[in-house]
């Protein structure tokens, strides 16, 4: 037998595999372009905006990362109707994995991504790697000033709001905790769950906020650790367990999680509590990636996400808007009059390893 004969089956399989390569279709389906006149009238009307749209249309696509593309379906449909000819392609995955990939790609001078969006800690890792082009949307003038990036690199997209959640079957009306302090009552011992606060995420942010709040502080967290907390990593697991009665109260579910659960089942037995000490806000950022292949489409997408229409759609999706004056129908994400216990913009990102050690000592090494 010749080597050629020997490798023939391999060759056939390689060819088959190569044939498979062409089979993966992009996520977003291409939209049929509407008439130029309609597009023009639908746009903001300013000459600059029209010029941006025309340039974006020539690029034809914007690549954005997303952990939950189904939630943003309405956003994509509305955007592509308003700006025909621009396809939104999602890169689905965790913010940390995407940032790792983009930073490695940039080291090899490869640029495939346009807009990076994530929580403050992954965004900070991208910023420290110099991965953003400093674009600031004109729509930022309508955004709450305390949500703006002082470095003028990133743009806020939405806010994740964290408070407490209780199971209404386990906790009768009137007996809910009103504050974080109430959780120290012995009756809550062994009944509270929270997400692993180490690393990053909503509970890390919540505990930083609590530790910095003068009426709570580290003394409070030490006592909370004595309440025999159930600590899990997956919010999904914790929410499911809370709803079926494994836990009575939970610290660290975002309002967005609660809206998603409520939409699935209006009668599910849980309730959000907005503690009197305040709620924890985590800003989610977006930024134009350096050397983006579709920079104009990226700018247009960023502008639209921050527009009144874009932010109203985010509010419908269950995310608290960053723009002032946006109608919010869902009480879970309504932050009007809510005290901010701590606003996480990534300002403590450098101290996360230190906090991780602190929470490790407080909650795991007792």
């Amino acid at each position: 037998m010749t080597a050629r004969q020997f490798f023939a089956p391999l060759g056939v399989l390689v060819c088959l595999l190569a044939a498979g390569c062409g089979s993966t279709a992009p996520i977003a389906s291409s939209q049929a372009p509407a008439s130029a006149a309609a597009a023009s009238s639908a746009a903001t009307g300013s000459a600059a905006a029209n010029a941006l749209y025309e340039a974006a249309k020539k690029e034809g696509e914007v690549v954005v990362n997303n952990q939950d593309p189904d939630r943003d379906k309405l956003a994509v449909d509305t955007f592509t109707k308003r700006y025909p000819g621009i396809k939104v392609t999602w890169q689905v995955g965790r913010g940390a994995d995407i940032s790792s990939k983009l930073i490695t790609q940039a080291q090899a001078n490869m640029y495939t991504h346009d807009v990076y969006a994530s929580g403050p800690h992954d965004a900070d890792a991208m910023r420290q790697a110099g991965m953003f082009a400093p674009y600031q949307s004109p729509e930022l003038s309508a955004v709450r000033p305390d949500f703006l990036d002082p470095n003028k690199t990133l743009m806020p997209l939405y806010v994740l709001v964290y408070g407490l959640t209780v199971n209404t079957n386990q906790v009768p009306a009137g007996q809910e905790p009103k504050s974080y302090k109430d959780l120290l009552d012995p009756k809550w011992k062994g009944k509270i769950a929270m997400q692993d606060p180490r690393g990053s995420g909503g509970t890390m942010t919540a505990l930083i906020g609590i530790s910095k709040e003068s009426s709570l502080g580290m003394d409070y967290l030490q006592k909370l650790a004595g309440q025999d907390m159930f600590i899990g990593r997956e919010t999904l697991q914790l929410m499911t367990d809370l709803i079926r009665g494994e836990h009575a109260a939970m610290l660290g579910a975002s309002a967005g999680n609660l809206v998603a659960e409520r939409d699935k089942n209006p009668s599910a037995p849980f309730k959000q509590i907005k503690p009197t000490e305040g709620m924890v806000f985590t800003l989610n950022w977006m930024g134009l990636v350096k050397n983006a292949p579709h920079p104009n489409a990226a700018k247009l997408w960023n502008d639209w996400r921050l527009s009144q229409e874009g932010q109203e759609i985010l509010a419908k999706e269950g995310l608290a808007p960053v723009r002032s004056g946006v109608k919010v129908e869902r009480d879970e994400i309504n932050t009007d009059g809510v005290k901010i216990l701590y606003l996480d913009t990534g300002q403590d990102a450098d101290r996360l390893p230190e906090y991780t050690k602190l929470w490790d000592t407080t909650f795991f090494k007792k």
């Binding site: 595999l17 965790r94 940390a96 790792s100 998603a260």
Partner: protein, 583 residues
């Protein structure tokens, strides 16, 4: 002058002895085997080498950095590392021993005894393997969580209120879940080897007056050692690096094992500290090397020929009335390991909220959601196509590798054996990062294409594929090959016409197992393919991340049905049956 000419000419020419040896070595067979060794070494060592180099740099793999030992100092000067490593080895050891005992028992029952409905039992015992580990863990949490776990609630209804009977959040809970999944995994790996038994040795033992038990313990099991040890070792290594149970059950139980530590390096640090994760992974490589050494010691100098040219229908042991007990044992295993957790997932897929089992919560909307999701259909099609082709390619490659390792005296075979274990010594996400860093600068443009995904999955499938095929190759008698050679067949023809048909059931079973792991892997898809890649794992991630665990359950049910139908068709058409291995 002439001396100068000679001196100039001589270096071009090797001494006669060397030339002869080189000519003897450069046979087409050796060239092919050398090619396979180089190809597999490249597949494995290129990404792992990039990771290892990266673990000695201040930056993450593939990025510019300066030399440092910090990752190794952080990993190995902390006493917690050794404590956790010991817990992990004990946990993995206990669950592997228990799972191997169960798997071999079930394997013997379905292949070697007259237990009723054996073909059905073989399918049922394998079912837990086809449930994604994360969902299997969630299913068990639903059943055994202390307060709301269905079995605890049922126990309280029966025996009155009291302390919970079961607590999944414990070391015992972790061993339980890991063991059940491993049993199905080891069973799938060894059942074909058990089937490929030559009865003559056993018959000789019976003729010498040995009892069934003596034959099983002193003849059958020792002969099965390569396949059983290979499967058990794989299962052990898997427990050292799989995240699902440690994160979902171990963390709340505050029982920390090695995957928690590696996970912490990736998940707690921003950016993820893959250098530290790799340096921790080096421990797993050392453990693997020790295991391979021990395995080789145990099997050194023994013969494992089970399939000879004289027909190898295994002898069926008549159990008498005990065959009903064996049947009941298999059914009990199926009910406990498959029906109980899968019933939770099925109920979840039919509920508005997972865990709320009231009739008002019943819905078909989760199935409607997945069946009307275009991305799911495209993901399913792409997964079946790319996963199917990749899994088959990987298994054919692994059968070559196993052939070289087991059946030849090729000089590089020990190296090839060693290399073929390595991809599982580092967790999937870390290997994914190594592949990203390695292939992004690869001269041939594969990065961002589905082709690189194929390379990633073939690489990840090598340990399992090679173990599975080695177990079979060791059992095939040399006389079959020799007789083919005598009749003029080249070794390639011998491989294709003699060995491959005999090994076909194992090859296809391996392809199915690899396909299942392919359909679940996410990190590689995110890191290695371009935006917009649509595979089922991405769709699963999408639902999971959006909190739609009910849709995840529905999708898992769909995949379970597809996998089992595939397995049943493969067996019914003879591809995976005992007959598939006949000459």
């Amino acid at each position: 002058m002439s001396d100068t000419l000679v001196a100039r000419a001589e270096p071009q020419v090797l001494p006669w002895g060397w030339r002869l040896r080189l000519n003897a070595a450069l046979t087409p067979a050796n060239i092919a085997m050398g090619g396979i060794t180089l190809f597999v070494a490249f597949l494995v060592l290129y990404p792992l080498g990039t990771l290892l180099i990266g673990s000695f740099l201040t930056a993450t793999p593939g990025r510019t950095g300066t030399f440092t030992l910090q990752n190794y100092i952080s990993a190995y000067t902390d006493s917690a590392t050794y404590r956790i490593l010991l817990t992990t080895v004990v946990l993995a050891g206990v669950k592997t021993i228990l799972a191997t005992l169960l798997a071999v028992t079930f394997g013997l029952i379905v292949v070697r005894t007259d237990t009723p409905l054996r073909r059905l039992l073989e399918l049922l015992i394998a079912v837990p393997f086809f449930v994604p580990p994360i969902l299997e863990a969630i299913g068990w949490i639903m059943l055994l969580s202390p307060k709301a776990g269905a079995l605890n609630v049922a126990a309280q209804a029966l025996f009155g209120p009291g302390a919970p009977v079961f607590n999944i959040y414990s070391l015992g809970g972790m061993i339980w879940v890991l063991m059940l999944n491993s049993t199905a995994f080891i069973f799938l790996l060894v059942v074909n080897a058990l089937r490929s038994m030559d009865a003559s040795l056993e018959e000789a033992a019976f003729a010498s007056g040995a009892s069934s038990l003596q034959v099983a313990l002193r003849v059958t099991l020792p002969l099965m050692a390569p396949a059983i040890l290979g499967a058990a070792t794989l299962s052990f290594i898997r427990a050292l690096e799989a995240f699902e149970v440690p994160v979902l059950i171990g963390l709340p139980a505050k029982v920390f094992v090695f995957p928690n530590r590696i996970y912490a390096a990736i998940d707690y640090d921003r950016p993820s500290n893959y250098g530290l994760a790799t340096s921790l992974g080096v421990s797993l490589m050392v453990i693997t090397l020790v295991l391979i050494f021990l395995q080789n010691r145990i099997m050194r100098g023994k013969q494992y020929t089970l399939i000879s040219g004289k027909g190898y229908q295994p002898r069926i042991i008549r159990l008498g009335p005990a065959r009903y007990a064996a049947f009941a044992l298999c059914i009990l295993f199926f009910v406990v390991t498959a029906v109980l957790p899968i019933s939770q997932l099925l109920a979840g897929s039919l509920s508005r909220t997972f865990g709320l089992w009231d009739p008002a919560s019943l819905t078909l909307s989760n199935y409607a959601r997945i069946f009307t999701d275009d991305q799911m259909w495209r993901g399913l099609r792409n997964t079946l196509l790319v996963g199917g082709v990749t899994a088959l390619f990987a298994m054919v490659l692994c059968s070559f590798v196993a052939y070289v390792i087991v059946r030849t005296k090729f000089a590089g075979r020990r190296f090839l054996d060693l290399v073929s274990w390595l991809p599982w010594t580092v967790p999937g996400i870390v290997v994914g990062v190594g592949m990203l860093a390695a292939y992004i600068r690869f001269p041939v443009h594969v990065y961002g294409t589905v082709f690189l995904l194929g390379i990633a999955f073939v690489t990840g499938g090598i340990p399992l594929g090679v173990r599975l095929m080695s177990g079979i190759m060791m059992q095939i008698g040399a006389e079959l090959e020799e007789s083919a050679r005598v009749h003029g067949a080249q070794w390639g023809q011998t491989y294709r016409r003699v060995l491959l048909p005999l090994a076909r059931p194992a090859l296809l079973a391996g392809a199915l197992i690899l396909f299942v792991t392919f359909s679940r892997a996410l990190s590689s898809v995110v890191l290695l393919s371009g935006p917009g890649t649509e595979l089922l794992s991405v769709v699963l991630f999408k639902y999971f991340n959006a909190g739609r665990v009910e849709a995840v359950c529905a999708l898992a049910m769909l995949m379970l049905v597809i996998n089992l139908v595939g397995l049943a068709i493969a067996r019914r058409t003879g591809f995976l049956s005992a007959g598939g291995g006949h000459l």
